[in-house]
Subunit: 344 residues, 2 copies
């Protein structure tokens, strides 16, 4: 894969009152509940948060867009399409057009709840990689009630990684946490099976040795599975295989446990009455772990902002994703990533 054009390397993102605020390009056709839930979420984001949004998709299928601008795209990459083929063959798809809008400076960021692999491929092929980044990674927030989330990467973009890739993930993850949560010096942990640097696979041991020597990030050493929820560091670095498995395991367990508790609450009249007292107190906890509120994952390393919302996104999930995209763009995420991997 060739180097992407990176002529804008030294140009800081526009800021200040006079700057043009670019819209967020939302893939209206991607997701289990598209286009209805996506359009509803995009409208809500524009109306409630005042964030400019453009929809990308088939104009005739979007229903009432509430006056949102539509970037027409005649094709749709399905959830089960092969990502590479989909992007190569469906050049007029909503995903490809959304990525092009970012590349062409017509949108500040793209958001999709569609085929994750195709979202990554669209962003990578159309926006290009940031110069010096070996491979983009997916950064996913794990909620920490009461404080900023722990961001884990890679959540699944790269099943196999080299130590050099993991070092860049550490740099990108720290830059992302700073851009998104304004944490000045995020703590970074390397996921392993023991705190000692002698523990883990050769990949982990070599990465550990490199991170210890590295300036510019606050590497606290190895962390373990139990340090993910609740998180003990701001950034957790791991390969995309381990990251994907562990995130899906936590998601599945949370969904199961919440369902089991709700079922217990509904046992009989006495439990239903007791639950009425408790539910308002439990609501903040449930809200903290509701995937619709976390705002989705961000693809780090491409030369533009790309937010990946989960496939079953509701309108609320899209609102959160648009907000994350907007924050990342206005917070100068891409510029921060460029500086981080350049060691500045």
């Amino acid at each position: 894969m060739g180097e992407a054009p990176t002529g804008a390397d030294a140009v800081a993102p526009p800021t200040g009152a006079d700057a043009v605020v670019l819209p967020i390009a939302v893939d209206a056709m991607g997701g289990d509940h598209a286009p209805k839930a996506i359009v509803a979420g995009a409208r809500q984001a524009a109306e409630e948060l005042g964030i400019p949004v453009v929809l990308v998709g088939r104009p005739g299928e979007l229903g009432d867009t509430g006056g949102l601008e539509v970037v027409p795209a005649s094709e749709v990459i399905a959830m089960d399409d092969d990502p590479g083929q989909g992007v190569r063959r469906k050049k007029d798809s909503s995903l490809v057009r959304a990525a092009e809008a970012v590349r062409d400076g017509k949108a500040a960021a793209m958001v999709s709840a569609g085929n994750t692999g195709a979202t990554m491929a669209s962003a990578l092929l159309r926006m290009g990689r940031i110069r010096g980044i070996a491979r983009p990674a997916i950064a996913t927030p794990i909620p920490r009630p009461g404080t900023t989330p722990t961001v884990l990467l890679d959540a699944g973009a790269n099943a196999e990684c080299s130590p050099q890739m993991l070092v860049q993930f550490a740099q990108m993850g720290a830059a992302y946490v700073t851009a998104r949560y304004a944490t000045p010096t995020p703590t970074v942990g390397l996921l392993s099976i023991g705190e000692e640097r002698s523990k883990g696979t050769p990949l982990v041991k070599e990465t550990h040795a490199l991170l210890v020597e590295m300036d510019g990030i606050d590497f606290v050493g190895n962390v373990e599975g139990r340090d993910l929820l609740p998180g003990t560091v701001d950034v957790v670095v791991t390969d995309g295989f381990t990251g994907n498995v562990v995130l899906k395991a936590l998601e599945g367990a949370l969904r199961y446990l919440m369902g089991a508790v709700v079922e217990v609450f509904d046992t009989d009249d006495a439990t239903r009455q007791a639950a009425e007292v408790l539910v308002p107190h439990l609501a903040p906890l449930a809200a903290a772990f509701d995937p619709d509120n976390t705002g989705g994952a961000v693809l780090l390393g491409v030369d533009g902002v790309c937010v990946i919302s989960h496939g079953s996104s509701t309108p609320r999930a899209i609102v959160s994703a648009v907000q994350v995209a907007h924050q990342a763009a206005t917070g100068g995420l891409v510029q921060r990533l460029k500086l981080a991997v350049a060691g500045r």
Copy 2:
């Protein structure tokens, strides 16, 4: 490492009313609360379950053993000792002596809540490997309320694995589930990042191809992180790095969530009253996921039964572990493993 003596390969374990019932050798010195909690658990197992137990450790430090026989051992391998060095240097340690009791036919199984690495090393060096097994693996149950647990292996014995090792883990895991839960043909899944056989690392893809071709196990294909809790298969096979990370992540998340819910219950008088109604209904769920009830992990592939209880084991955890050890021994676990890897 040389082949272990396996002269007993063809000898089935003793059964029937006239058979001598060998005791379970419990390492009285291993665990955060040793020896007090361990001795208490061993006594309880003997008294309540009628399972014969011998304690292994320093006789003068065990307090009232309630008449349990003590196998004397003058040394202790500490929780933070280097496993290999500990086993080589402390030949009169409780862990080594417990493993020798199994090797010498004086105990049916060993149980320890001590240093996990040293427990594995003691079992491996003293009992030897089962002929044909490349590497032993740790099999850990993940509770499934209402049915038998999902057994995951490897939970951390081997950070790096080959496809051939994972295939043996599948065979051993299925044999273990049959021995412990009487499931005639356990379903086996391979942990990956997508259901398609094209997904995952080269290790996973090669293992998938081997498992598809294999007779004697019910391989259902790849499973994902979300298939662990609640489990969708009887056996989940993975490398020891991924297995350890994901199990610790689930343990940590469960502990955190239960703590958070208990805290909400204790908000004020109204919530405490409501909680009183609900707690009895929630108790079975909490009990199902209480690590003290799951009975610990089993080291599969050594030529004897070795149960690893968690470091912070309470007396109840030791009772569970002794029960698991007893079931494994009387269920002919080692013989089943021998037959499974021999393809019979």
